[in-house]
């Protein structure tokens, strides 16, 4: 895992007190998103999370739908590609199983705010070009290897331009039912009224995606990675560790 040093996260939407930076303590974050191989270990050890056995309350009908069967990811889900079609519940269960947790949105956004060569990626033209090039590609049927992702300033790979990722508090930003509610909606031009940087389209898209999801939803371009508090040893319940951790060594 990679240590993200303490710092700040400025929430995307303004609060009643305006846009105020939130302190984010140091934490550990997986270098790579969780892969199909990683997730296969999890479902082997936890039958209740296999595709045929998972409860519909915790994962909808498309859960692991790109896998060949319960214990075989198959052609469409190569071992070293990020696992997708996983629900928030499944991602959380996995994280707990490896002794970690999902990153909070503040943590995830703080780690992802870095550019390739500096801690502030907002004006990194290379990152922006890659981001919009990624939006310009429809989701591929078979995702590339996590190893293909570029490392950012902190050494974390694939936060952008690979898959979307679940965070612990994914739906805390906006209220999708807010037809007439004050603020808190991102529709039409009203979406811009509460936002600190209306030109930050990439963040808008992440926020919109998160707000569209329910915790049992899965999609073909949404995966996750794990975080830990600093000072906690990686390893957890996974007998042979997880592959993402292996790769980071």
């Amino acid at each position: 895992m990679v240590t993200i040093p303490p710092g700040q996260y400025v929430p995307f939407t303004k609060t009643a007190r305006g846009a105020q930076a939130v302190p984010v303590g140091a934490f550990l974050l997986d270098e790579f998103p969780v892969t199909n191989a990683d997730f296969l270990l999890f479902v082997r050890a936890n039958p209740q999370w296999r595709r045929s056995q998972v409860s519909g309350l915790f994962a909808d009908a498309t859960y692991l739908s790109n896998w060949a069967n319960d214990l075989e990811p198959g052609r469409l889900a190569p071992a070293d590609s990020p696992v997708v079609h996983v629900s928030w519940f499944a991602a959380r269960a996995y994280a707990r199983w490896v002794g970690g947790r999902l990153p909070t949105m503040a943590e995830w956004e703080r780690a992802a705010s870095a550019g390739y060569r500096c801690s502030d990626g907002r004006n990194d033209p290379e990152l922006n070009r890659d981001l919009f090039a990624w939006f310009a590609q429809p989701a591929p049927e078979v995702l590339p290897s996590v190893a293909s992702a570029k490392a950012n300033f902190y050494g974390v790979r694939g936060l952008h331009c690979l898959v979307w990722e679940w965070v612990e508090d994914f739906n805390s930003v906006i209220d999708p039912a807010g037809d007439a509610g004050p603020g808190g909606n991102l529709y039409c031009a009203a979406g811009a009224s509460d936002v600190k940087d209306t030109g930050d389209y990439a963040t808008f898209m992440r926020m919109a995606l998160r707000s569209s999801l329910k915790a049992n939803n899965t999609t073909g371009s949404l995966g996750f990675r794990c975080a830990r508090d600093t000072g906690t040893a990686p390893g957890g319940k996974a007998p042979e560790g997880n592959l993402a951790t292996e790769k980071s060594r």
């Binding site: 919009f132 999708p176 007439a180 529709y187 039409c188 808008f204 995606l209 569209s212 899965t218 073909g220």
Partner: protein
């Protein structure tokens, strides 16, 4: 509400209850799960409406007119897809679409209809999407109710309270990017009292694309946020790509038909000065407001997120070019389409090119080199006029029309506008036996003039007509004689320029 929907709802409510109780850590999840309110319970009159499935068609086509005279419960199923398609030759772009094309499927309902809307976001989508229909009365135009994750489907219902032509578009943040990637279309709410019938209906929308590459740069292009913020699009196009309405894909109509174009502007930013080159719009319904009509319009301004309906009868065959008359957009960025009209020509309305001559400027000094050149050129022009099939192919009607102009500029002063002449001074042409007896003689008289006594309709006249051979061309003489031989009650064959030429040569 069908059985499946109610089961889904039940499952969601159950999930909500269970989650709230058993999974405190998922507290935040409650808010998103709890949003659907379930199918609306309709009052009996609305519940009894007949159910119809809307026919959705891809541009530039339009669903057939609605002929029923009472409201219906119309079910609309619209699918969102993110697809790579051609933006220009060699240029690809990932369009976000309502139905697979830009603009999205044309939706047609009737004022008073209850519209049950299903927005289906394809599982391969990267992003959530929704829809804001300007035809909807209610917050967001449906935006929040239709907010749909990839691989999901949303349903909401609205009553089409007001007639008109309305834009719909995706309203998910960042909206300018969703719209800028092609997420817009038109919904027509037909007025209760119906619409005038026309022969052809078509569907065109303008939108601009902010690509990273300059216009024409090959390969898959990305959305360029900087250009979008500055509103500097490399592409401004009709129906989602350069050339979408050109060549084999041009709109088509026949002479005599009335064409109606539903024209909308998706934007996201630019307005359109919509113009059809060579056509005056008989009727324009500005801003899609079907209750108000402007007539005889040349160029109509269509706002971003707005639409207009235009109607016109095509009278002359040929190609009519649709443009945004902010012309670099048409010339350099792609905002150009074509309407090809087939059928017989009507040269009285529009002749086509009659003459192509060199023009040297006026008043060359006599005897100068320029004057000599001018004389030489006049000869060439004359020859061109004789061999030009556009001219030799003149119809009698066109000759009469043009001959009238010659007559009213030259002959009427003596022969009078009504062709009756002046008794004992200038002979009549109306009903003239002298004129009608010998067309060749008439040609000679126009060329060389006439002096001395003649007998016209039994009355002797001794007068003077000046020669016109240096004033009128063979064509003009043929035209003016055809006019007088077919006016004032006269009726006769046309006089051809060849005949005049032959007589002129004989007399040299």
């Amino acid at each position: 509400m069908n059985m499946k929907t109610s089961q889904n709802l039940l499952a969601r409510l159950l999930a909500l209850a269970l989650l709230g109780a058993a999974v405190p850590a998922a507290r935040a999840a409650d808010d998103t799960l709890g949003s659907p309110e379930g199918p609306v319970v309709l009052p009996p009159d609305l519940a009894a409406l007949p159910i119809e499935h809307a026919i959705l068609v891809a541009p530039p086509h339009v669903p057939p007119p609605i002929t029923r005279t009472t409201p219906a419960h119309v079910i609309v199923n619209l699918e969102v897809r993110e697809v790579v398609k051609k933006l220009a030759d060699g240029v690809q772009y990932t369009f976000w679409t309502f139905g697979g094309d830009v603009p999205g499927r044309f939706i047609r309902v009737r004022e008073g209809d209850l519209v049950e809307f299903h927005l289906n976001n394809h599982p391969s989508s990267k992003l959530p999407h929704n829809i804001d229909l300007h035809a909807v009365t209610g917050p967001g135009g449906g935006a929040a109710s239709a907010f749909t994750a990839p691989g999901h489907s949303s349903q909401f219902t609205f009553t089409a309270l007001q007639p008109g032509l309305f834009v719909y578009h995706c309203a998910t943040a960042p909206v300018p990017m969703h719209v800028g990637n092609g997420m817009y279309g038109l919904i027509l709410v037909q007025p209760k009292d119906g619409m005038p019938t026309v022969d052809e209906e078509c569907y065109v929308m303008q939108g601009e694309f902010y690509t990273t590459g300059r216009y024409g740069e090959e390969g898959l292009q990305s959305f360029d946020m900087g250009k979008a913020l500055d509103e500097r699009p490399p592409y401004v196009v009709f129906n989602g790509s350069v050339g979408s309405l050109v060549g084999d894909r041009a709109l088509r109509a026949k002479v005599g038909e009335t064409v109606r174009i539903y024209f909308g502007v998706g934007g996201p930013n630019l307005v359109s000065s919509f113009h059809i080159i060579g056509e005056i719009l008989d009727r324009v319904y500005p801003e899609g407001a079907l209750g108000s009509v402007e007539e005889h319009v040349q160029t109509t301004l269509v706002p971003a997120g707005g639409a207009t309906m235009v109607e016109f009868e095509v009278k002359v065959p040929g190609t009519y070019v649709l443009v945004d008359h902010s012309l670099t957009r048409a010339f350099n960025k792609g905002a150009l389409g074509m309407l090809k009209v087939s059928g017989p020509p009507n040269r009285a309305i529009y002749s086509g090119k009659e003459i192509d001559a060199v023009y040297l400027g006026s008043q060359a000094d006599e005897g100068s080199a320029a004057a000599e050149r001018e004389t030489e050129l006049k000869g060439k022009i004359e020859a061109e006029m004789q061999s030009n099939t556009a001219i030799t192919g003149l119809t009698k009607e066109v000759q009469i029309e043009k001959g009238k102009q010659v007559y009213m500029g030259l002959c009427f002063a003596c022969h009078q506008p009504d062709g009756r002449g002046l008794p004992n001074v200038f002979p009549p042409l109306a009903g003239s036996d002298f004129l009608q007896a010998d067309h060749e003689r008439a040609i000679r008289i126009v060329l060389k003039g006439l002096s001395g006594p003649v007998v016209v309709n039994g009355k002797a006249i001794n007068s003077l007509m000046p020669p016109q051979e240096a004033v009128l061309t063979d064509n003009q003489i043929a035209d003016v004689l055809t006019y007088v031989l077919n006016s004032f009650g006269n009726s006769g064959d046309p006089v051809t320029p060849d005949k005049v030429k032959a007589v002129r040569n004989e007399m040299r």
